[in-house]
């Protein structure tokens, strides 16, 4: 009979996970067979690491391996009581020895079992010694594996034995301690530490930046790399950092790393961190690098995301993966995990102890099942911090009582413009009409042009609950098929909406112009108007084009259109940019709200006509309020981008032998106009899309707090927002300022306080940014829905960017952007060589340049339900091993319109 070896293995307790992993690797090897695993050991493993437990269980279930468990705790002869003064750990070790001993004796009793030996495997030195005294055959893993002659490959799988002194540092304390606040404060004062806001990197969880928000520091950005240096900082926390000496500075890595290891404990970190360090660095790209020494203020909020269920079914501790990739995964305790799988949930962080790989948190609420449109909308509103609760009673109590009508009082103080032929031009389906226009010929031959804006500030009085709510919301948010109002609907869609054939209060801006569109006189007044028509852009365009129509409205529109063209020409001559964005709105099914098709935005003359007069009004008002209140006017600026931003644009143009001048807005606009390539009509649009990406964000600011007012994109020295008070709070403030300036209203303290004004601007900027992100997220979600319904589509696109391991492709037909990656985890990546000068990427034999035309398949990758992605795969050019064959069921291939 073949001699068998039975083993009692005890995965090491006191050592780090790395060792545990090495051991499980060994155990999984097919050479290792006939193993008895004690229940007590199994429990311990389960307690420590769910993934390892899972792997052991898998090994047990594999029949070939002859792995068995022995429930020694429930056996009369192997159960032992914990003795006085004995630690739980020692007791368990003793239990293992007793069980091993029992097994030896048990097998010896068998008649044919003479050749059977029990070998105990342990890496605990003390345990080994005691077991030897006890009369057992004991080996350390390493010794045992070495003794298996003829299997040298096993040795490779065995991790190096850690020295005993490594035990403590390696296992428990994962992070350095945070300094107390008093030491941080003194450190900041004497310049040892820097204070700033932490921003985690979206693509690499081991990297982050701290923006130093103090003026006068030469360093305004500190790079952090590695878990130890990040030291438990969470996105948006205010932290104190210590700078490293220059020789330890590193360059930001361009690797994409996602924290998706299945283990719920610390593991494999060393490996990934090494990946980071492997990047060779050129001294010019080194960034100031440091480490977090303490947290000044946590900025934790409840996070939306999904539960990744622990591999142990009954486990109550689970990892929660937030939707925002910049937030680390959070460990939560819940008994209802089974119900929460597949649901979008909210979780709040409670704390992050220094010996824990992940922060601890708790379940807050269930938002609904993932993928559900309602739920997803809720998630993206919450994630972008968009206040979207229904308005409270307190807010609603400040609404005017219905039925509302214009009073005698109003008539006395307002200019009565009801006789004017005013009309509005808006996109179809618009219910919050906040601007109307008129134009008529005066007796002296000049033209009178009026822009009438809804007088929202008449209804929203400063300081009341309604006003505070609007100020905090900042802006109306438009999502696909949904609008989150800044002010209650009664105002936004009724009383303030300048609908046709009803009397409404307005704030009018009236100019006297000559036929060359030069302003002779400007005049602002509160007024009462009665719009004669609410037109859509298309309707207005039709009236203008239709020569047979001779009514007042049409005449007025024609006048406006003519002036607008002159104004636009003049503006462009001054260097205003016309940029392009690839966004394509959806046709939404009105009942199910499912996207059914994409509509490309068609720009008509009337669009730019309305825009032109809004700009004119905004500029006029900006000048007026700045003249009146030089310290506290609320203005909007658009800083010119730093020259470095244009790098990519210049390189891209150069690849087609074109020069782009970026010295001024004018130069840029001119060179963009001249940049065309024959047989490639979409090239110019692509360039403009690229140029848009180079721009800075436009922001609100208070004139008393800043000196640079310039609006780069519009090429205007001063600018503000006046024309959409229904959907932007900034406009309400501007209305109030203007009303004070023309003595139509009284002022109030907060309006004149530049610090309060500035704080308000910060909030508005934040809300606008978030609204924009939310909007994009909503479009992205609907895009996914759209492609989910469509299945796989083949489409032509252009390369927008070339990255180290991917190309970013823009599909003009859908306004869709996506990446084609060339390195795959599961298959060997093709040979890539990246040239940052071009930039070009050589994949095998083919070189990708920017703006190259490619053909791709588009499909929805729903493998990660939390981050469903549009996936693109290359069809043309054909590169063996990279591109995919054309799918057979090609949907009716509409020729993509490239010059849209």
């Amino acid at each position: 009979m073949k001699s068998q070896i039975s083993k009692l293995t005890s995965p090491v307790r006191e050592y780090t996970k790395v060792i545990k992993f090495s051991q499980i690797d060994i155990l999984e090897d097919p050479l290792i067979r006939n193993v008895i695993i004690l229940q007590i050991v199994l429990q311990e493993v389960r307690h420590r690491s769910a993934p390892v437990y899972k792997r052991i269980k898998d090994a047990i279930h594999e029949k070939e391996k002859h792995f068995y468990t022995f429930t020694n705790e429930h056996h009369r002869e192997t159960f032992i009581e914990r003795e006085q003064g004995e630690s739980a750990n020692d007791r368990n070790d003793r239990a293992i020895r007793v069980a091993a001993k029992w097994y030896t004796d048990h097998l010896a009793k068998k008649t044919d079992g003479g050749s059977l030996k029990v070998v105990l495997l342990t890496d605990d030195r003390a345990n080994k010694e005691k077991a030897e005294q006890y009369g057992l055959i004991v080996y350390r893993c390493e010794e045992y594996i070495k003794s298996l002659i003829g299997n040298p490959e096993l040795m490779d799988r065995l991790a190096l034995q850690p020295d005993d002194q490594n035990e403590i540092t390696g296992s428990k304390l994962l992070f350095p301690e945070h300094l107390p606040l008093s030491r941080i404060q003194s450190g900041i004062k004497n310049g040892m530490f820097l204070q700033g806001t932490f921003h985690a990197n979206r693509d690499n969880y081991l990297e982050g930046k701290v923006f130093i928000n103090r003026e006068g520091e030469e360093i305004n950005e500190v790079l952090l790399q590695g878990l130890q240096n990040l030291n438990r900082a969470v996105h948006q926390d205010v932290v104190a950092v210590e700078l490293f000496p220059k020789e330890r500075w590193v360059a930001p890595s361009s690797v994409v790393l996602q924290d998706d290891s299945p283990n719920d404990e610390d593991a494999e970190e060393d490996e990934t961190e090494n990946k980071l360090k492997g990047v060779p660095s050129d001294p010019s790209v080194l960034k100031p690098t440091g480490r977090v020494v303490g947290i000044i203020k946590r900025n934790w909020r409840p996070f939306c995301g999904m539960l990744s269920q622990s591999m142990i079914k009954e486990a109550t501790r689970h990892l929660f993966t937030p939707a925002d990739r910049r937030i680390p995964r959070i460990r939560i305790e819940t008994r209802q995990a089974a119900n929460l799988v597949g649901q979008r949930i909210m979780v709040a962080i409670d704390g992050w102890p220094k010996n824990s790989r992940y922060p601890n948190g708790h379940f807050v609420k269930n938002l609904g099942s993932a993928g559900d449109k309602e739920t997803e909308t809720e998630v993206l509103l919450l994630e972008h911090d968009v206040p979207h609760q229904p308005f409270s009673q307190a807010v609603l109590s400040f609404l005017p009582k219905m039925p509302w009508s214009i009073t005698e009082e109003d008539l006395k103080v307002r200019a009565d413009l009801r006789h004017l032929c005013v009309c509005s031009v808006d996109p179809p389906g618009c219910t919050d009409i906040d601007d109307t226009l008129h134009c008529r010929e005066l007796e002296n031959g000049n033209l009178e042009v009026g822009v009438h804006i809804a007088d929202v500030s008449h209804f929203i009085r400063p300081g009341n609950a309604l006003d505070q709510e609007a100020a905090s919301r900042g802006t109306t948010v438009y999502l696909c098929g949904k609008r989150i109002d800044m002010v209650p609907e009664l105002l936004s869609s009724n009383l303030c909406s300048l609908r046709s054939n009803v009397e409404r209060l307005a704030f009018s801006c009236i100019w006297e112009m000559n036929h060359n569109a030069e302003i002779l006189k400007a005049h602002f007044t509160k007024s009462i108007i009665n719009s004669k028509a609410s037109l859509t852009y298309a309707e207005a365009q039709m009236r203008i084009d239709d020569g047979t129509m001779k009514d007042d409205i049409t005449k007025s529109l024609r006048g406006l259109n003519r002036l607008a063209k002159i104004l636009k020409g003049r503006r462009i001559a001054k260097g205003a940019l016309t940029l392009s964005s690839p966004e394509v709105p959806f046709h939404i099914n009105s009942e199910t709200h499912d996207p059914i098709d994409l509509q490309s935005k068609e720009l008509k003359e009337t669009n730019s006509m309305v825009e032109e007069f809004m700009l004119l009004a905004n500029i006029s008002v900006a000048q007026k309020i700045y003249d009146e209140f030089s310290e506290c006017a609320l203005l909007r600026k658009h800083p010119s981008p730093p020259p470095l931003n244009y790098d990519i644009l210049i390189k891209a143009a150069k690849s087609r032998d074109l020069n782009i001048h970026t010295d001024s807005a004018k130069a840029l606009a001119d060179s963009l106009n001249n940049a065309t390539v024959e047989n490639f009509p979409y090239f110019n649009t692509l360039l403009r899309i690229l140029a848009t990406r180079c721009m800075m964000q436009a922001v609100y600011f208070c004139s008393g707090m800043d000196s640079d007012f310039h609006h780069y994109g519009l090429a205007s020295p001063i600018y503000t927002h006046f024309t959409s008070p229904i959907r932007r709070y900034a406009d309400i403030i501007v209305h109030r300022l203007l009303a004070v300036a023309i003595n139509a209203d009284s002022t109030y303290p907060d309006l004149m306080d530049k610090h309060k004004q500035s704080a308000l601007c910060n909030n508005l900027n934040y809300r606008h940014k978030m609204a924009q992100y939310a909007q994009r997220a909503s479009v992205a979600f609907h895009t996914q829905l759209f492609f989910k319904n469509k299945g796989i589509i083949n489409e032509e696109g252009f390369i927008l960017f070339v990255k180290k391991n991917a190309i970013i492709i823009l599909i003009p037909k859908f306004g869709l952007e996506g990446a084609v990656f060339f390195d795959n985890k599961d298959k060997p990546s093709p040979h890539l060589s990246f040239d940052s000068e071009g930039p070009t990427l050589k994949v095998e034999e083919h070189t990708f340049r920017m703006f190259d035309k490619v053909k791709v398949t588009i499909s929805l990758d729903a493998s990660n339900i939390q981050h469903q992605r549009i996936r693109m795969a290359l069809i043309e050019p054909v590169i063996p091993g990279v591109s995919v064959p054309v799918p057979e069921s090609e949907p009716e291939a509409k020729k993509p319109k490239l010059d849209c």
Partner: protein, 245 residues
Amino acid sequence: MAGLELLSDQGYRLDGRKASELRKVQARTSVFAQADGSAYLEQGNTKALAVVYGPHETRGSRSKSLHDRAVINCQYSMATFSTAERKRRPHGDRKSSEMSLHLKQTFEAAVLTELYPRSQIDIYVKILQADGGNYSACVNAATLALVDAGIPMRDYVCACTAGFVEDTPLADLCHAEESGGGMSLALALLPRNGNIALLQMDARLHQDHLDALIEAAMTACKGLSKVLDGVVRQHLEEVSVLTRD
């Protein structure tokens, strides 16, 4: 930390029992001299004391008495030290009132009340240590006490709980299983003819599993009845030895 694994792959429960295994039951009757009947019962770590007075004349208002049978008055209580957390337990809280009511219904089904019209039987039970299956321990203890008091019954009333984990019914749940594993069903059975005196469950369970669960609980009850019967017989033997001369 991972949660509790209620049923291991090897088929063992937390305390090492198999799925259908009961906890150890130990009981004594006639533990008090003053009462008409009394019993002390341990079911694993759950310990219950039951005392029976009666049948006697209806106390309090006469209107409560029934002309054709006896009134059964049950009172359930828990000792302050019975749970892990020491807690003052006032009489008449919602939980114990409910338990009292359940006990009353159980014993009305078992005791031959029609033999004692216009009288009253008092059953007092107290949980000294609670480790799951309080109701069943109380019923079992009270049965013994009723036997001790010599009150005629149709049969022993045996009660047991059962739970359902990983498609397996578990008999006689302990506290950890009750609190950690979802659902628990309590069943009081008259084992000889298989009549159910009380069946109670307030968790969700798929209907398909219900039969298996009741079956497991009934088997457990039948097992218990043997134990109780043994206790009674042994007590009788002891008493008869003492009173022989």
